[in-house]
């Protein structure tokens, strides 16, 4: 292997070790904070006293709603430390300013202008820490006619163009609406770009010693993330049409998604894609093991032109093959012959994938207060010198108040009690 794990790999610090992030982010930006935390940054998630509203989003552990049992919150807040702080209280603001002088990065998702009204905007914070990088990640950015619009994942996917690309061919589902894919991906897309912008600013700071302010727009991030839909319009003037389970296009493309014997689906390539005579023969040999190759082993197909002339027939044979074997067999059959097919998997299939086990993707995370351990999704990449890994579960509400406010900022325990009783923490 080109990048083997070293024995003590998991004990190494992550690539962002040494960076401190103050996260004032809700659903819109907490994924950006998670990326930084899982990659080794010290991310302090600052919640209002009593916990952030994201803790009220389900699903919940064992379906028992509770601020400490939100799987939504758990997923997006791994490896962070948790503080509570009332930023609308002068004492809370004073503590926040002290934290800012210890921080490299502030990530916030409040409505534009909100922090400035509290005296906590970039202009007020930068003098405390000229090296500070502050990123405001908001639905539409800090300027423009929509800057104060209320939003949601669904709204961003409508505005950004995702929905206009996703849906069904009319013969599959007549009168289908444009579809917004699930999973909260508008927030993921925004968080990816915020992460990039922050890391670019960190690099600039490494070179120059100075921080800066970043105005990141989720709308623009989504508008950029529709691959060819934007350029198709810009260069051809055409608007794409939605197709079932494949790329939107202005023409009618051929289906690439087929049902398998077990009622699941596979997503394949256009029939002619990469279909050399040698590959077709290997594919047909494999299909013949199921008795499903029909005439594809015939010598006449050992000719590129014949393959191209018979694509419709080959597609029929393949479709029959798909309906006759289980999903897992179908997509792996293509992969073993070098064709980039994929089963439309749900989590039910994904959690058993041995390849992901090989990559240590499934990460066991301890929840000591529950006496239980759960499996989380790990890093998308393996860094061979500095691991991407979840180092602890999401923080409990105010879990690290004592550690930070007393241990680091030197507050007396009695003072902490006073702050709690007066609604500051």
């Amino acid at each position: 292997m080109s990048a083997p794990h070293t024995e003590d790999h998991s004990a190494l610090p992550g690539p962002l070790a040494g960076l401190r992030v103050l996260e004032l982010a809700d659903a819109k930006g907490q994924f950006c904070g998670k990326l930084m935390a899982d990659l080794g940054a010290d991310v302090l998630k600052i919640e209002p006293p009593g916990g952030q509203h994201t803790r009220l989003v389900g699903p919940f552990l064992d379906d028992i709603p509770h601020r400490e049992r939100s799987l939504f919150f758990w997923h997006y807040n791994t490896s962070k430390r948790g503080l509570t702080l009332n930023l609308e209280h002068p004492d809370g603001q004073a503590l926040f300013r002290r934290l800012v002088s210890t921080a490299d990065i502030v990530l916030e998702t409040f409505p534009p202008g909100y922090l400035a009204t509290l005296g906590l905007g970039y202009d007020a914070l930068a003098p405390l820490n000229p090296r500070l990088i502050m990123c405001s990640l908001t639905p539409f950015g800090q300027t423009g006619p929509w800057r104060d619009f209320v939003s949601s994942d669904l709204l961003q996917l409508a505005a950004g163009g995702q929905m206009s690309c996703c849906g069904y061919d009319p013969e599959d589902v007549p009168d289908a609406p444009p579809i917004a894919p699930g999973g909260g991906n508008a927030w993921h897309i925004g968080s990816h770009f915020a992460y990039m912008a922050i890391m670019a600013a960190v690099y600039y700071r490494d070179m120059t010693g100075v921080g800066q302010y970043i105005d990141a727009s989720i709308h623009e991030a989504c508008a950029l993330t529709t691959e060819a839909a934007g350029t198709t319009y810009i260069y051809t003037g055409k608007v794409v049409q939605r197709h079932t389970g494949r790329a939107a296009s202005f023409d009618k493309s051929e289906p690439t998604q087929f049902m398998t014997k077990d009622g699941l689906w596979v997503n394949t390539t256009r029939t002619g894609f990469n279909l050399t005579p040698a590959r077709l023969r290997r594919l047909a040999t494999m299909m013949e093991q199921y008795g499903l190759a029909q005439d594809l082993l015939d010598e006449k197909y050992q000719n590129r032109a014949t393959i191209q002339e018979n694509l419709a027939h080959i597609a029929e044979v393949l479709e029959h093959f798909f309906t006759s074997v289980p999903q897992e067999d179908a997509w792996r059959a293509g992969q073993e012959q070098g064709l980039p097919w994929g089963g439309v998997r749900s989590m039910d299939e994904i959690i058993d994938d041995p390849h992901l086990h090989d990559r240590d993707f499934f990460t066991e995370v301890e929840h000591p207060e529950l006496g239980r351990r759960f499996i989380y999704p790990g890093g998308a990449a393996i860094y061979n010198a500095s691991p991407w890994r979840i180092c602890r579960r999401a923080p409990l509400i105010g879990e690290h108040n004592v550690e930070i406010f007393c241990g680091e900022l030197g507050l007396q325990r009695e003072k902490l009690t006073l702050l709690a009783e007066s609604g500051v923490i």
Binding site: S2, P15, S164, C166, G230, W265, G342, V344
Partner: protein
């Protein structure tokens, strides 16, 4: 630039360029670069602090590393396709290669992250990114609902289209946010292909605001829509009532009217809408214009963040094939024009026998 790495001279040029680069980033199938002698193990000998980002479908590590993906198959295998669609219908999936876009973004993220690590420690590294794997985490809390609660992913009423919960299905979260109603797409005036909007009310208060915007029609003031659980129970009727109203309005007018009242509503925008009609993107200057050497002045999609001190900028359009071959080889490697002409003739820099484009001929003159 263009380069035939399968020739000894091409391979040598690739190695010389790698040795003077901070970052090598590649998305060949796993083992291809190693076969050419350009794997991380080889290249780090030339430059120990090299950052080397590999972006293969399944990654370089793991028993199926030889599997390949394109956007749609990575989306299928990662669970992304499954979570898009209407219940009881085929998966709608993603209407473009979402994970190709996103794979590129992760490539940048990995490179910048490793750069930061190198700035802090002096150490380079290999980053083995897997396109398929990255999509799994992007299913949100779906993963933990399966591994922690043991909830089967394949279940009645899931995925619920644009709704937070499908009528009649169990009241389970769908990993997009809170379970609320209304939360759907609705037709707007004109009835065209993209004449749609979305509306979501996250609280009873927001629902009351929507009722007000709609002019408090009798149906909407019925007590059966007052609370969230009642709106979910009567969701079909609720959505019909709302759509009856949205069809009377043009989608941008509807957006403005709703937003002025604090109602979460937005036009479904096509690419044409974003480029021509979106006032926000216009105000932010998102579609600037650039001169393309062959196609003239064209709009180009911008950068979604503004850095106050070191703004990102699109300096020029994507290069033409081999547009900068001569410049790179001359400026970075000090090759003479004659060396470069030889490379074009002997198959190192251009396929033998293939006519060269006029701009390349000009560059070699």
């Amino acid at each position: 630039m263009t380069l035939n790495i399968r020739t000894p001279r091409g391979l040598e040029i690739a190695k010389r360029l790698a040795a003077m680069s901070d970052i090598v980033i590649e998305n060949f199938s796993s083992r291809v670069m190693q076969k050419w002698g350009l794997g991380y193990a080889e290249l780090r000998q030339l430059r120990p602090d090299m950052i080397y980002v590999s972006m293969a479908g399944f990654g370089h590590i793991g028993r199926n590393h030889h599997y390949t993906t394109m956007g749609p198959s990575a989306q299928a295998l990662s669970g992304q396709t499954f979570l898009s669609g209407l219940p009881g219908q085929p998966p709608a999936g993603w209407g473009w290669s979402y994970l190709d876009d996103t794979g590129g973004m992760y490539g940048v993220m990995c490179a910048l992250t490793a750069l930061r690590h190198r700035n802090a420690t002096g150490q380079g590294q290999h980053v083995d990114l897997s396109q398929m794997t990255m999509g799994i985490t992007l299913t949100g809390a779906a993963f933990l609902d399966r591994t922690v609660n043991g909830r089967p992913a394949r279940r009645e009423g899931y995925p619920p289209g644009n709704r937070a919960v499908w009528p009649g299905a169990p009241l389970l979260n769908n990993y997009r946010g809170p379970t609320v109603a209304p939360h759907n797409a609705y037709r707007t005036q004109g009835g065209g292909y993209n004449d749609w909007c979305v509306i979501a009310c996250f609280s009873d208060h927001e629902w009351q605001n929507l009722v007000g915007v709609m002019g408090s029609p009798t149906w909407a003031t019925d007590a059966k829509f007052t609370t969230l659980s009642e709106r979910i129970q009567h969701q079909e009727e609720l959505d019909q009532g709302i759509e009856h109203w949205t069809q009377t309005l043009e989608k941008y007018a509807l957006t403005e009217t709703c937003q002025a009242a604090g109602v979460r509503a937005m036009a479904v925008q096509s690419a044409e809408d974003r480029v021509e009609h979106d006032p926000q993107l216009r105000a932010r200057g998102f579609y600037a214009e650039l001169d393309h050497p062959l196609l003239g002045r064209r709009k180009i999609q911008g950068i979604p963040f503004k850095l106050s001190r070191s703004p990102a900028e699109i300096y020029w359009p994507a290069p033409l094939i081999g547009q900068h071959t001569r410049a790179v080889l001359e400026e970075l490697l000090g090759l003479s024009v004659q060396d470069i002409r030889d490379g074009y003739a002997d198959g190192t820099l251009w396929p033998t026998g293939m006519p060269m484009y006029p701009y390349i001929e000009e560059a070699l003159a």
